[in-house]
């Protein structure tokens, strides 16, 4: 049989273009418009205001409360510095270009480490999800590794790799790979069985089933695994940078934090913590949140009240 896209109309039934059919189409169209869910998209400006304004207002309120406390209680500035001391420390780190260097170094390591973790964690997750015996054997170990704080690997990594970047990357991988693999596994586990059944009915081969059905269906779960993987990578990186200094290891945010501690410069310590926090929030807001929003909205998985 030739592969013909047309519909088979072998049964030439008494089928004349009757006015009844037009009536029927109008009836059906009427019901469709009654039942369809109207989408009311909000403007980009409104969405930005709704999303950005509350956290900024909270930030201003917190800094104001902090300053009020300093003014009223007048604590020792070397124990509790005021917001202006911290901003001053930030400004001096900026003008000496230590801040830019530290952020660039850490982001580069975090980003590269995260990408390597994705490249390793994804095949592991696929293998675990699709191969039962492997899953029974490796699954508990992987969950255990997810719970184990990856800082615990720092001493071993220093002994193995010395004070090099390899130590830092090793710790990042131990933190991020289990999250990414587990995210993909749970994403695949949560695929409604009827979607796979449809794939079978439509005649998908094993490869087509994986690429056209399983992977796209598992994407939301996989993505939240990626997000968690990034969080673990960033945390592990900071821990590794704080503990390991010297050797060929460059100057990251963790290093900067540790230096400030050695100088008993509390304003500098707090300033660095704020920068680490800020980078984390920025990556979430600029990179992960828009992709996730798009992913979920396209599938109708986002409640109307959320962004």
């Amino acid at each position: 049989m030739p592969l013909d896209a047309r519909i088979d109309t072998t049964r030439a039934a008494p089928h004349t273009p009757d006015p009844g059919h037009d009536e029927f189409r109008r009836l059906e169209a009427g019901l469709d418009s009654l039942q369809a869910v109207p989408e009311t998209p909000r403007g980009a400006f409104r969405r930005t205001v709704d999303g950005v304004l509350p956290p900024i207002l909270l930030l201003i309120a917190l800094v104001a409360a902090w300053q009020v406390y300093i003014l009223i209680a007048k604590p020792r500035p070397d124990l509790i510095p005021g917001p202006f001391d911290v901003f001053g420390a930030l400004a001096s780190a900026w003008s000496s270009e230590r801040l830019q260097l530290a952020v660039a170094t850490s982001l580069e390591r975090g980003g590269l480490g995260f990408l390597i973790a994705v490249a390793i964690g994804t095949p592991i997750g696929l293998l675990l999800a699709e191969c039962r015996p492997v899953r029974r054997a490796v699954g508990p170990l992987l969950s255990g590794l997810q719970v184990l704080p990856s800082v615990a690997w720092v001493p071993a990594a220093i002994i193995w790799f010395g004070l090099t970047d390899a130590t830092v990357y090793f710790v990042i991988l131990m933190g991020a790979v289990p999250s990414i693999a587990n995210g993909l596994v749970s994403g695949i586990d949560q695929i409604p069985p009827q979607l796979r059944r449809v794939g079978t009915v439509l005649g998908a081969s094993r490869f087509e089933m994986a690429t056209l059905v399983v992977l796209p269906a598992a994407l939301p779960g996989y993505f939240s695994g990626l997000k968690q993987g990034w969080a673990f990578a960033w945390r592990s990186l900071m821990a590794a940078e704080i503990i390991t200094t010297g050797g060929t290891i460059g100057f990251g945010l963790g290093t900067m934090l540790n230096q400030s501690r050695e100088l008993a410069d509390l304003a500098g310590v707090l300033a660095t913590i704020l920068v680490i926090l800020f980078v984390g929030i920025l990556v979430e807001l600029v990179f992960f949140a828009p992709i996730e929003r798009r992913l979920l909205r396209r599938r109708g998985l986002m409640a109307a009240g959320l962004r």
């Binding site: 592969l3 013909d4 896209a5 047309r6 519909i7 088979d8 109309t9 072998t10 049964r11 039934a13 008494p14 089928h15 059919h21 029927f24 189409r25 009836l27 059906e28 169209a29 019901l31 469709d32 039942q35 369809a36 869910v37 989408e39 409604p192 009827q194 979607l195 059944r197 449809v198 079978t200 009915v201 439509l202 005649g203 998908a204 087509e208 056209l212 059905v213 796209p216 269906a217 994407l219 396209r298 599938r299 109708g300 998985l301």
Partner: protein, 268 residues
């Protein structure tokens, strides 16, 4: 070819189609089919059935009588424990109670994926999908995603997707059970029209007696535990029937009485 005689046929059909008028070939042949899961009780017992090409067959029974299992076996999704099923045209298209559209694809792409898996070249797919969606009156919704469609619209996209497979046999497992009554009535009309237009052989599983009486040319009643075909009715196709019509009501009453009798036998 006519269906093999069954000893379990209890009453005579309401209207018997003249066999001379329907000399069609068997599209589906089922021979002494039995099914049990593991060492559990028999789910299906000695099913013998021959379904003519182009026939609209309703498979009716109470919940848990094995009618969905029978459909899955015809579809090749499950293996029979004994006996054999032959679908003359090869494989069958299947539609489920849940539309099961891929939520990451638009309605049009959901139809296109069936064309793609059938081997239709990329260039032809878009127009073909649109043509199929137009057949179920949804050409305008081609760019909508499943979550933007109502339940009835989703089921129509699923119908278009099944038709995209271009298989002579269409198996339907309670496709309208989850819809409201108004939508269901419209979809009956839609399905009947598609059937007349495309000449598919349809096996339609339902637990709704009126639905079976409204749609079927041939209605098979199944008993439960084990599932057997206990009676069948053949209705001469004299054009479209309405679900409110007296003939559907009369047939429905008769089938309901027997269905209840079958269910009563499971008491105590």
């Amino acid at each position: 070819m006519t269906s093999p005689a069954r000893t379990s046929v209890v009453t005579a059909p309401v209207q018997t189609a003249d066999p001379a008028l329907t000399p069609g070939l068997a599209a589906i042949t089922i021979e002494s089919l039995g099914k049990r899961y593991g060492t559990g009780p028999l789910v299906l017992d000695d099913i013998n059935l021959s379904i003519e090409a182009g026939q609209f067959v309703c498979l009716l029974g109470a919940s848990g009588c094995g009618k969905s299992t029978l459909l899955n076996i015809i579809a090749g999704l499950e293996k029979p424990t004994e006996g054999a099923v032959t679908v003359a045209s090869g494989k069958a298209a299947v539609m489920f109670q849940d539309a099961a559209l891929f939520p990451w694809l638009t309605a049009g792409r959901n139809v296109e994926i069936a064309l793609k898996l059938r081997g239709v070249p990329r260039k032809a797919r878009g127009a073909a999908a649109l043509e199929l969606l137009d057949l179920v009156n949804l050409a305008d919704a081609a760019n909508k995603r499943p979550h933007e469609l109502s339940g009835g619209m989703r089921q129509r996209v699923a119908l278009a997707r099944s038709l995209a497979q271009d298989r002579k046999v269409l198996l339907m497992d309670e496709p309208f059970a989850a819809l409201d009554a108004i939508t269901r009535d419209l979809l009956h009309e839609e399905l009947e029209r598609v059937w007349r237009q495309t000449g598919r052989t349809i096996v339609f599983v339902t637990h709704n007696v009126r639905e079976a009486a409204r749609l079927g040319e041939r209605i098979l009643l199944m008993s439960s535990r084990p599932g057997r075909i206990v009676n069948e009715w053949t209705i001469t196709d004299t054009g479209s029937r309405r679900i409110e019509s007296p003939e559907v009501a009369r047939l429905g009453d008769e089938i309901t009485d027997q269905l209840r009798e079958e269910i009563r036998r499971n008491a105590a």
